[in-house]
Amino acid sequence: MLIACVAPCARSASLTDRASDAGIGFRHRSGATPHKYLLETMGGGVALLDFDGDGWLDVLFVNGGSIRGAPDRPAVDRSEPESFNRLYRNLGDGRFADVTDRSGISQKDSGIYGMGAATGDYDNDGLTDLVITGYGGTSLFRNTGGGTFRDVTQESGIGVPGWAASAGFADLNGDGLLDLVVTRYLDWDFDSHVGCGEDVPSYCPPTRYGRVTSMLFANDGGSRFSDHSEKAGLAGLPGKALGVAFNDLESDGDIDIVMANDSEPQQLLRNRGAASFRDVALDAGVAYNEDGGRFAGMGVDFDDYDNDGHPDILITNLARELYAVYRNDGDGLFSYRTRQSRLAAITASMSGWGVRLADFDLDGWKDIFVAQGHVLDTIRLTDPSLRYRQPPLLALGSEGRFEDVSGASGAVFAESLAGRGAAFGDLDNDGDVDVALGVLDGRPRVLYNSAADLGGRWIALRLVGDSSPRDGQGARISIRTPDGRAQHGFSSTAGSYLSASDPRVHFGLGANDTVEWIRIRWPSGTQQELRGVGANRYVTVREGRPLRD
């Protein structure tokens, strides 16, 4: 039955922070020093992952560390518990338990300054594995079950020199195994650090440091990876990449990559098959803003905001630059739609990091959540019109336009925060998308969405691959509701900034209480269709097998 959507069923989402009540005591440590090492202002990744397979998303917070030692020989110190990464197990009743000690992912004494996380079942054993990026090393943790991880970086063949930022898993060569992309930021180390700021020391702009290339590791099976960066074409594409997201750009079945670059052209890497990539950003129209200018690309999402079946690109950046929305026109070209989408007005004074296009209010249109805050803690001294700490943003979408509803969506949107990473997923399994927000040098916010409680209708898919990666990452899903509308989603834990999200794919249904059909195209090429599925349920779909709730 089709019911007209009236005021109560649309355009309302309320996000409430329950981190403290839930027992999450983590506090991020940047290790800020008077020397203003650029590292200090860039961290704060978050991951939502069901590491114990109990059906509840757990939360990982990546920590930076202290920067200690003589001024001429500074070093990262992760010896203190306040510098550990923290893993919290979701107990399913609104509480979380700190399971860091047992998990083996604290990175105690590693000397690595932690940045972000990526999640995926790279060995197809049904357990979610973990990558933690950082300065001084990027680590692969294999989930060994029983709540423990083992650092298999050395034996896996993954080696990422320098400063890694975001990372993501995706099956880029169609062999059913998740490959790994790790972005690297820039050519910086403590020795090459320079001081910036005329009267007051401040963090240097990225233009002071050289470009580096990001890396692609092909999964060879048997828990071994090989550096495929050269063959993939990434080795010839230097940039200053902070964010990475995946989707199938042109519906050809190959997974493509978008990388957000800071002060360098953005990169759109089209997969020509077998994980061989060409940067088509310039031709496609996503390398620059509409003035042909570079901007400080930080967080990124690659998803279909206007429900036309073509994945679009959203990149967050610094105040005055306007978050960049590129609409995929379906002909290989993108249109810069920041003005027309109204994001120009919404984001003129904002600086954004973690970001996601997701239907937070369950009305059938994807919305935008952004973790915000300027990169410079001294910004007010040079530009009094800007603020270092800013509230996050919630902008509801409809018909390709967005409306800032932050002021009416919960107390967190009045809080001034140095937001950085943000991970997205359904923490309480009530059907709507919640948020874990990383705060630089602060306590994170764990934001529960009440859209489902307010009567919003939804459907969500939990995918289990067979010849595709077991966790279903890389699957494209389309649904059609009885009102004739179609929506499109993509299963990926990547995107945002330094963060990893729920692999399950959520759709808001507006006033519809059923879904006419759900079509899934798995990375293997297998296509599957489900018909007449009722609303408000998680549907587990096994590749090539009949539906089972």
Partner: protein, 359 residues
């Protein structure tokens, strides 16, 4: 600006037109003066005072593009009049053609080094072009010629990108309570990016003098920079109503509409701006953007091609070359798209080199 005489040998009917123009200007009927002097200039194109007076009247009408055209015509008849170069420079400066304005003002100063107005305006043009070194040198010269001039303090604040509260206080003490002092203070606040205070200062000016021309443009700019495009558009629209012969308010109104995504409305307003100043590369560029927003890529090409040819600086050219490359890509002309993309890249590299060796 003072009215120039109408001397010279003219037919009686043209003498009558000249007298009519001057009389209308004296009684404040600037539209009638503009009409009479336009007719006179058309019928007696070699009569320099016609163009000169027409330029002055248009300047008073805030039709700076029209004034510049009239002063150019006058200079075409006698390029040796230093004062005419100064007038042309003033008018060009108001239209935002900073390169051409600076050239004309330098010529004025070459002819008459004692022309303080041109020196002040050249300093302003250089500041707007972000040529702070040259501007500072001029300000240094002005300090010996006009030490007490309030405009001098304003220029000093602007050239230093000043953020000093103490200087602002000095400024306010210099002429407390007067509207010009408030405007100068507001400009200093804008330079210091103290937008809350600057906005309040402009709003206070407009409360005191709601019909004053100028502050609405600055207030609109502040609102636009904060993403408050609808409010900015209202300010520009009101300014356009107050100053119907000026292209700038219309152009900024059009831009504010574009920033809201209202491309059809923007196109109409930008056409009006181009009706006032058909050579404004900024308005041409925005018109192209309005058409491209509506998917009319072929229609968007012509104004953009014209704009890039008239662009005042490499930064504008770089922006437009990129837009041209996008338009040609849309239109399926890969060769031209690549050509303009290469031009964009060249200008970008050139700018990076000039920025001082970014690694």
């Amino acid at each position: 600006m003072a009215a120039a005489g109408t001397g010279g040998q003219l037919a009686p009917r043209l003498e009558e037109l000249a007298r009519e123009g001057v009389a209308a200007r004296e009684r404040g009927d600037l539209d009638a003066a503009e009409q009479a002097l336009s007719d006179l200039a058309a019928e007696a194109p070699d009569f320099l005072p016609a163009h000169l007076n027409l330029g002055l009247v248009r300047y008073e009408l805030f039709d700076y593009a029209g004034a510049a055209a009239a002063f150019s015509d006058a200079l075409g008849l006698d390029g040796g009049v230093a004062g005419l170069h100064g007038l042309l420079g003033h008018a060009l400066l108001e239209t935002g053609r900073l390169d051409a304005a600076a050239r004309a003002l330098r010529q004025a100063l070459d002819g008459d080094p004692s022309d303080l107005k041109s020196r002040f305006r050249l300093a302003r043009a250089l500041i707007e072009r972000r040529e702070f070194e040259g501007a500072s040198a001029l300000i240094g010269e002005l300090e010996s010629h006009a030490p007490g001039d309030p405009e001098l303090l304003r220029l000093k604040i602007l050239v230093s990108g000043n953020r000093s509260a103490e200087l602002r206080r000095r400024l306010m003490r210099a002429a407390p309570g007067t509207v010009p002092a408030r405007i100068t203070a507001a400009e200093a606040l804008v330079a210091a990016r103290e937008w809350d205070e600057a906005q309040a200062a402009y709003e206070a000016v407009l409360r005191a003098e709601p019909h004053r021309r100028g502050p609405r443009l600055a207030l609109g700019d502040i609102l636009a920079a904060r993403g408050r495009y609808e409010e900015a558009a209202e300010q520009f629209k009101e300014e356009a109503r107050l100053v119907p012969h000026a292209a700038q308010p219309l152009m900024r109104w059009g831009e504010a509409l574009l920033l809201q995504g209202a491309s059809t409305a923007a196109e109409g307003v930008l056409q009006r701006a181009l009706g006032v100043d058909g050579d404004s590369y900024e308005a041409l560029e925005l018109l192209s953007r309005a058409r491209a927003d509506q998917g009319r890529y072929a229609d968007a090409l012509a104004p953009l091609e014209k704009a890039v040819a008239a662009a005042a600086d490499d930064s504008a050219r770089m922006r437009m070359e990129y837009q041209l490359s996008r338009l040609y890509r849309r239109l399926g002309d890969a060769a031209k798209a690549s050509f303009h993309a290469a031009e964009h890249r060249r200008l970008q590299d050139q700018a990076a080199d000039g920025a001082g060796g970014v690694p």
